[in-house]
């Protein structure tokens, strides 16, 4: 029998909220699937569409996380992230890729549980979607 498909997930986190949320998930020993590689940025506003597109050449899904709206450490970076992710999603649809492969979530420093849940849910969803056809290797 073939081995179960293990999706590859790249997550961009901001330093202040969502990376701290991931730390809290760790401190609280919340278990989630090891399919994710986290890339720490200072702000979700730093996420350039190029990063997402490059990530989608190598992974099955991309998760962008940041502070909740209104809570951004840099005031408004997450608002720009939101606009960009929406645009990239549209572009993905146009090239025929499932938009669900890209997800945006707001995770605060106190939401360790949410971080773990979001990773788990996304990995589950990627398992259903299967391998990203654009992915090399």
């Amino acid at each position: 029998m073939a081995e179960e498909f293990e999706p590859k997930l790249i997550a961009f986190t901001c330093n202040w909220c969502s990376y701290a949320g991931a730390d809290l998930a760790g401190v609280s020993r919340m278990q989630y699937p090891p399919n994710v590689r986290v890339i720490r940025l200072m702000c979700s506003g730093r996420v350039d569409p190029i990063f997402i597109l490059e990530a989608l050449k190598r992974a099955d899904g991309v998760l962008v996380t940041g502070c909740h709206i209104g809570d951004c450490h840099y005031v408004s970076g997450n608002l720009h992230a939101e606009v960009r992710v929406k645009l990239v999603k549209k572009a993905l649809e146009m090239v025929g890729l499932e938009p669900e492969r890209l997800k945006l979530e707001w995770i605060s420093a106190s939401e360790g549980e949410k971080f773990a849940r979001v990773i788990k849910e996304m990995v589950d969803q990627l398992k259903k979607l299967g391998k990203n056809p654009l992915r090399d290797g």
Partner: protein
Amino acid sequence: MIDKPRIGVYVCHCGKNIAGVVNVEDVAEHVRNMAGVIVAKDYRYVCSDPGQDMIKKDIRDYQLDRIVVVACSPRLHEPTFRRVLEESGLNPYLLEMVNIREQCSWVHMDEPDKATEKAKDLVRMAILRSQLLEPLEIKEVKVLKSVLIVGGGVSGISAALDLAEMGFKVYLVEKNESIGGHMAQLDKTFPSMDCSICILGPKMVEVARHPKIKIISHADIVRVEGYVGNFKVKIRENPRYVISDRCTGCGECQEVCPIEYPNEWDINLGVRKAISVPFPQAVPSVYRINIDYCLQCYKCVEACGAREAIDFGQKPKETELNVGAIIVAIGFEPYEPYQLKEYGYGTYQNVITNIEFERLINAAGPTEGKLIRVSDMKVPHRIGFIQCVGSRDERIGHIYCSRFCCMSAIKQARQIKEKLPEAEVYIFHTEPRTFGKGFEAFFRKTREYGVSVVRGRASKVLEDPETGNLTVFVEDLSLGKPVEVEVDLLILSVGMSPPKDLESLSRTLRIPRDPDGFLLEAHPKLRPVDTHTAGIFLAGACQSPKDITDSISQAKAAAASVAALLSRGKIRVESMIAHVNQDLCIGCGLCQEICPYQAMTIQNKKSKTIPALCGGCGTCASTCPEHAITMKHYTNKQILAEVVTAFQR
């Protein structure tokens, strides 16, 4: 510049925390032969002194110029290891940390093999990134030797006095008319049984008289800008309709004022005049007209006479303060137990809260210290306390222990026994928490008075509509029996809630809140008074429920932290800032438009960064249509190096 980076990789066991799950030897082995890696070691505790010395020695012995520490969260130890690099003569930004504790060993405990594989990926990503790291310029700016303290309760007062004594200029901003906070409302404090206002009052006066402290009361924080050492804060003083500088606090206006309204400070049992101060010891001793109740009969204007302190035309006044640091000390709000329908607060007249009790038993309170119940003004002889009201209760989202209510009830029970020795007093508790210095002895003394301490959380309270008496239904856990206790007066020992305006203040200050809704400290153990925003500190119950002793301890700690920061005179500012490549910039101004710090200016049709203002978010870099902006330490190349390596095997 050295052509090829020479990298040292250090994989930490963190005792068993990492090594218990991740095969650390395997991780080190995996990267040992990667291009640029000169040494790769695993070590029990890399953050320990010997661990740090090992890195320093390797930097010397192998001329390393990039260090990759594979250990815990950079949010914990990045400063530690940056210092190691600096002490070895390397630029601190040539460090890269990999977090395989919070992101591998602790979250994939049941999958050690996969955790190890993930750790290897993360380390390879970091090594690739580290090759592209560049030294950043370390810049220092002068810091302002002034401090803003938000909140004039006992925490704010303590911090203000300490800092003023050390010579710093202090602005103490208070939302209410007077400083003093909840402590000013209390009758006596535990475990010393001091008269609360008698020990706080002199401190309040000292604050008012101190040449280095400026009290700005009846005021709100509107906006906070800038950064550590150089904050700009906009304050709005709400109108009192009395000119502070002219009011002498004589009270002649109050005597002639015909209007009375319920005094919230006296739990609405007492009254105050439309022009008045909330309590006699109020600081500043400046009167206020409550315009909602004022008839505008102008009797007060007449009484004030030549002093001309009354000004009905007063408008909100905005001022800007420049301070080097901020201490947030806005305290708590007592939990309002309306939601716990089983106890009937708000429905049954003789069910009151512990805070209300403090005013009832206080000689300066609305009953002049005579303990009576509201329904019939009679002296109660059977009194009960229900504990954990609004604490340790998942239903209302308060999962925390409020830490003061057990001792408060034990103290109040004793006060009742001192006034009414014949009274029957019951405390219904989940489990008594008397952990502080002198608390257990105090509890023992209260038991000696004959207070009946019943282990069991009250399930229900019913009122007899005829008598106004209350029956408490509770299981006596020690007997395993349901018990019904009839009392004349019932006190709910309510816990602490985060203040309602904490949410908006946390946004203004950009400090996150914890899951309970209080402000989040930088580290629960190591940095309990710091926040993740440099230059902003916490004191008192706004960080988590605390009694007076703990609040003052934390206030003094916050004051010391502020002093340590500001007394240096200079401070390092953010080195991770945006840089505009002038050759590529087309001067479109998009970056200027989106920058939340006004850190971008257009000069000669080209954009430029103002380094002191740049916050370092990097949003401009990903917005620039010409890719002309480089976000230092988070460049496209550096980030893409990680993306490319993430799953490359």
